[in-house]
Symmetry: C2
Subunit: 339 residues, 2 copies
């Protein structure tokens, strides 16, 4: 089996307490014996049993991250980049990362309870917050450390990082209005998602600021995958005279689906219709035509929420518990079309 403190202690004929102290650099052990211990530990290939450490120290050096996955073909470039940010920040702090994938729903909380009540992780990262978010209510009630990516509609105080989706939509819609568009569609995400709410607000504000009417028919809801954008496009482009001249979407994936349906309807993107996305995934600049999008520094956000959580776990005061990032609009050829 694997070598324990006991093995080293036996070999050197000292107590396991001394071995433990020597290995952890604690005072109260002679330099000569410390060297001996280190030598034997190296020779025997000692590595501490993490479960035993966790039990004793009452912390796991692990943070949890639960990915809400929707169905099998869950392929969102967004998450791999977020995960990279989180993972790298955690690794630098020598923390492990426990990832669960659960579909949002009534069993969702079970996943959180497992990690929280089982003291499986020291803190949690919550992503894709909802307007009424039971996960956040639960974590607050438990007094469990967490940081969210996104806000909620409840008047709850908790640490988060978010990008200002309202500003983001305001910018992109204003950009479209400045290019002469008057009928601008918006493919949003499910209403229960908090960011969808913010972005809708930004959309309406931009219209209002330019005296344009709000038309319910032009706002569609999608599930953030390509096919949602595709189907929304098929519906929109059949409106005839009522057809929008520009469309913006709540993520790039749907924008790509939208571009496809536009082409199928004989519309040349950037020439006959303007399309803009949200996220600015690396792919956005590679599409045809390159996609105008609201940039989200996803990797950085991943790092940020992770680092904030690590601060919390070190009992440090958060310099900025709530961070709201201003997104930048990246204009590309997909919105070249002017009315």
């Amino acid at each position: 089996m694997s070598v324990t403190l006991q093995d080293i202690a036996q070999e050197l004929d000292v107590s396991i307490a001394t071995v433990s102290r020597a290995l952890r650099g604690m005072p109260g052990v002679a330099e000569s014996t410390r060297q001996l211990v280190l030598k034997v530990a190296r020779e025997q290939g000692y590595y501490p049993n993490l479960a035993a450490q966790q039990l004793q120290r009452q912390r796991t050096n692990t943070i949890g991250f639960i990915i809400p996955t929707f169905g099998p073909r869950f392929s969102d470039p967004f998450f791999s980049e977020l995960l990279a940010g989180i993972g790298n920040a955690a690794a630098e702090a020598e923390f492990d990362l426990l990832v669960s994938t659960v579909a949002p729903g009534k069993d969702e909380l079970k996943g959180y309870q497992h990690l929280v009540a089982g003291r499986r992780v020291d803190g949690l990262l919550v992503v894709r917050t909802r307007r009424q978010d039971q996960r956040i209510a639960y974590l607050l009630a438990e007094g469990f450390p967490f940081v969210a990516f996104g806000r909620t509609d409840q008047e709850l105080d908790f640490p988060y990082v978010d990008i200002d989706g309202q500003q983001g939509l305001f910018k992109v819609v204003t950009h479209l209005i400045e290019r002469g568009h008057r009928r601008i569609a918006f493919i949003n995400a499910s209403e229960e998602l908090m960011f969808a709410q913010h972005r809708l607000t930004g959309y309406r504000q931009a219209l209002a600021a330019h005296g344009l009417p709000y038309d319910d028919d032009l706002v569609r809801l999608g599930g953030l995958v390509e096919t949602d954008g595709y189907h929304a496009g098929r519906a929109l482009f059949c409106l005839g005279a009522q057809m929008p001249t520009a469309v913006c979407t709540s993520n790039d994936l749907m924008a790509l689906g939208m571009m496809r349906s536009a082409r199928e309807c004989g519309l040349q993107v950037g020439v006959d219709i303007a399309i803009a996305g949200f996220d600015d995934i690396p792919l956005a600049k590679m599409t045809y035509p390159p996609l105008t999008s609201v940039h989200q520094p996803i990797y950085q956000i991943g790092r940020l929420i992770c680092e904030k959580l690590l601060c919390l776990l070190r009992d440090e005061e958060l310099a900025e518990p709530q961070t709201l990032l201003l997104p930048e609009l990246v204009v590309r050829e997909s919105t070249d079309y002017r009315v």
Copy 2:
């Protein structure tokens, strides 16, 4: 703090052993007391301390998965789908999933040692195998349970799932040849990756089978991101008379970059040049033009390697330790061009 067996035992004036037995459904406890224990446990909100369980049971009910990330903008739809498959399969078996993100390199093994020597996980999933893979050599030497996605060049016996990339490339190149192409470029991944080797073999076999010469200039290496395909394209499309009429790539992301560079060089994809990818990510059918690609059932592969590992951990005999999946070619408009 949180409630332990001790708390329940005290409340009912029984021993913690009885409580433990009652909760775990072990024999040797009266049905009446079992009900009492269950009742109190529910009332007090008992949840077992997982670290203590792990220490005692000598297993963690956790599997590890180390994602090789290359740089910050690591945005591969491939991995999010794989992760979903792994995560869901693990969740069904009530296993947790520990994810690390480490850049391949000399510190890479540290990450594996941490999980293995620290007994942090019961088994590991190894992805993106390399021709000489130190990770696999290490795990085999340690006798640690693992399943790989991919093979190696070493004559080592270990459980894996892989798709037959050689067949995949053979199919796509044959498809291009049948459309009249004679100069077919191939943007492959780094030579050290095992799958790159297989695909190169498939590429050469298809050429040979049709009596076409192999031209070193037409094979380029890329790092599997969009920009790699883009740059490879810029280089290829400047070859003048030596220019290929068709290109296939080792993943869809590079194909998308390639499509962009083609357009910038005034080439209409599917009309003036044929481009095919590999992976068939959901996006592939949404590009313009839709991308011909070799389909990989990534989600299923994620499930498969996870389930295989779970079998190993249950000490079951693997019905099929090594699975080689035959990939399908999905023909779309990007290869419509005939010479």
